[in-house]
């Protein structure tokens, strides 16, 4: 059975957090959908909170310190990414954004991304569309059509019929599973291993 690596980036601040709760639901739905397609999911969770100081240090110094380096490699080496943020001031949280700000250019190019967000009220659910989707478009990631927003009221909603949270989570997980199952990860060109020959550089000048 072939394996797909799923990195879960969750930027909740509380412990436990509803953001993490949603992230785990999305990860479980993705793993289940992969299983039904004959794949094994290898899921790794990056709690951005655990790297908060290192993320700021990376912004100031230009390189990721040890623990953050491993987290960044988990995300950039994954076949698919689940990214979940709390809604702050009608947008993603600053910490969530900062984590993606320290990735190298092109690090997520082509990577399927399942977006999720949490908030106190459903009024902010468009954060997925007006904040997160443009950011992942800029990163040239393949953001999936279904993104999942969970407001406080969703956690207490009864039943799974219609367009409830459970359905949306399952649909989103299936989309991510389809995207990573059909994708052959392209080996990124490493400019330090395989430089542009000087003759070509000189011609370009």
């Amino acid at each position: 059975m072939s394996t797909r690596r799923i990195a879960v980036v969750t930027a909740g601040l509380g412990k436990p957090s509803s953001t993490r709760l949603l992230a785990d639901r999305l990860a479980a739905a993705t793993a289940e959908a992969l299983r039904s397609r004959g794949f094994t999911a290898e899921t790794e969770v990056v709690e951005v909170r655990d790297h908060a100081h290192d993320v700021v240090n990376n912004l100031l110094t230009g390189f990721p310190p040890g623990g953050l380096r491993a987290a960044v490699e988990t995300v950039t080496g994954a076949d698919g990414v689940i990214a979940v943020t709390p809604t702050f001031n009608a947008s993603y949280s600053g910490l969530f954004k900062s984590f993606f700000d320290v990735l190298e250019e092109g690090a997520l190019a082509g990577t399927p991304v399942l977006m999720g967000a949490t908030g106190g009220t459903a009024r902010h659910s468009l954060v997925l569309e007006h904040a997160m989707r443009p950011m992942f478009a800029h990163l040239r990631a393949a953001a999936l059509p279904t993104a999942v927003y969970a407001a406080s009221e969703d956690w207490g909603a009864t039943g799974s019929a219609g367009d409830g949270l459970t359905d949306r989570v399952a649909r989103a997980g299936a989309e991510l599973a389809d995207a990573v199952a059909g994708r052959v990860p392209a080996a990124a060109r490493d400019p330090y291993e395989d430089p542009v020959p000087f003759g070509d550089l000189l011609k370009g000048a």
Binding site: N57, G62, F63, Y192, P195, F198, L201, G204, A205
Partner: protein
């Protein structure tokens, strides 16, 4: 192996008393620090080039020309000379002139600068950074080697029957280092010409330095200049020493915490773990510096950053005493003992390049 210091030339307030030196004071301090480098037995002094406050050294060959008269042995260098925004014709002339004045005790390190706005200040565009570095150096290389140059390129007016004067001392161009922290193109450029490659690793983890130096070494061999372990590598270092390492940490911490580059970011302990910064006893500095060869191989030039973060001149001079008397003599011996047969100890100097020229 050559040991020396490189200065950014920043004017920074001393965080322990809030005092900021004047530009005049800072310039004179740089001169004093360079003289001290020779007095304590170091081999190289290199100055940065900047065109914006709070930095003072906008005119390196003026400073180095003065130092040429004030010193006897010291190699005068730069860290870095801006190959992007300076006219390569002027670089060719300035450094050939300096060679004559300093009797050949000159080399230079080329770089692309540390700030975007410097490009438009000199009529250039940062998006052409790599292209400028490649085209300009290609011209500079010819101007020092061909008496009459006809040239046409993208980034400056063409040259017809142009002779850069004075001609390099004894017909031998100064040795060139290419400095870059992150750009593989520059390591490739250094390798192509068989020039030196300097990685200013002081703010970066060894894993990154290993990749950049490794690329340069492989490509140096590829272009037929020698084995990869014979490529000419220079590294930076950043240290603060006291005989008792606790004293070093206590004294340096306020400077670290407020330093312009990494201040208010990682702790001193985190930064020491992740980068070559060493704050402690001379013995600790010796051990740390020797470990650089684990990720960069046997190399030829080690430059330390000593005057920065607002450290007062008196403290910097004390640091140079420790460096020259207790650290560098041990490093010279230890590095040589570890160096394999056939790997050069020193970078090319005017004398060795002249000897090669004669035998060819």
């Amino acid at each position: 192996m050559q040991f020396g210091i490189f200065s950014v030339g920043d004017v920074t307030a001393d965080p322990t008393n809030g005092r900021t030196p004047s530009e005049a004071e800072r310039i004179k301090s740089m001169i004093r620090i360079a003289e001290k480098a020779e007095e304590v037995g170091l081999d190289v002094f290199a100055t940065g080039e900047h065109h914006n406050p709070p930095f003072v050294p906008s005119s390196p060959t003026t400073m180095l020309g003065y130092l040429a008269a004030r010193t006897r042995r010291l190699i005068l260098s730069t860290s870095t000379t801006l190959i992007t925004t300076n006219d390569p014709v002027k670089i060719a002339e300035d450094f050939a002139m300096l060679q004559h004045i300093a009797d050949g005790r000159v080399d230079l390190m080329l770089g692309r600068g540390n700030t975007g706005p410097v490009y438009p200040w000199f009529g250039k565009d940062i998006r052409d950074g790599i292209e400028l570095a490649i085209e300009n150096y290609n011209l500079l290389h010819r101007l020092w080697r061909e008496d009459v140059v006809n040239w046409e390129g993208k980034h400056r007016t063409p040259l017809q029957s142009f002779t850069s004067t004075p001609r390099p001392l004894d017909g031998v161009p100064p040795f060139v280092w290419h400095g870059s922290i992150r750009s593989p193109e520059i390591a490739e450029q250094a390798a192509y010409y068989g020039d030196g490659f300097f990685h200013n690793n002081i703010f970066w983890p060894p894993s990154h330095t290993r990749r950049m130096v490794g690329l340069y070494r492989r490509r140096f061999e590829h272009y037929g200049h020698g084995r990869n372990d014979q490529a000419i590598v220079g590294l930076g270092g950043q240290v603060f020493m006291r005989h008792n390492s606790q004293d070093a940490v206590r004294e340096f911490r306020p400077y670290f915490d407020n330093a312009p580059v990494y201040g208010h970011g990682p702790s001193l302990e985190e930064f020491t773990r992740e980068t070559p910064l060493t704050v402690g006893s001379p013995q600790q500095v010796i051990e740390r510096t020797l470990s650089f060869r684990d990720f960069a191989g046997d190399y030829q030039r080690q430059l330390f950053l000593m005057d920065h973060a607002g450290l007062p001149l008196k403290t910097v001079l004390e640091q140079l005493d420790l460096l020259g008397e207790e650290v560098v003599p041990v490093l010279r011996k230890e590095f040589e003992a570890l160096r394999p047969e056939g790997v050069p100890s020193d970078p090319p100097t005017h004398a060795t390049r002249q000897a090669v020229e004669v035998t060819e």
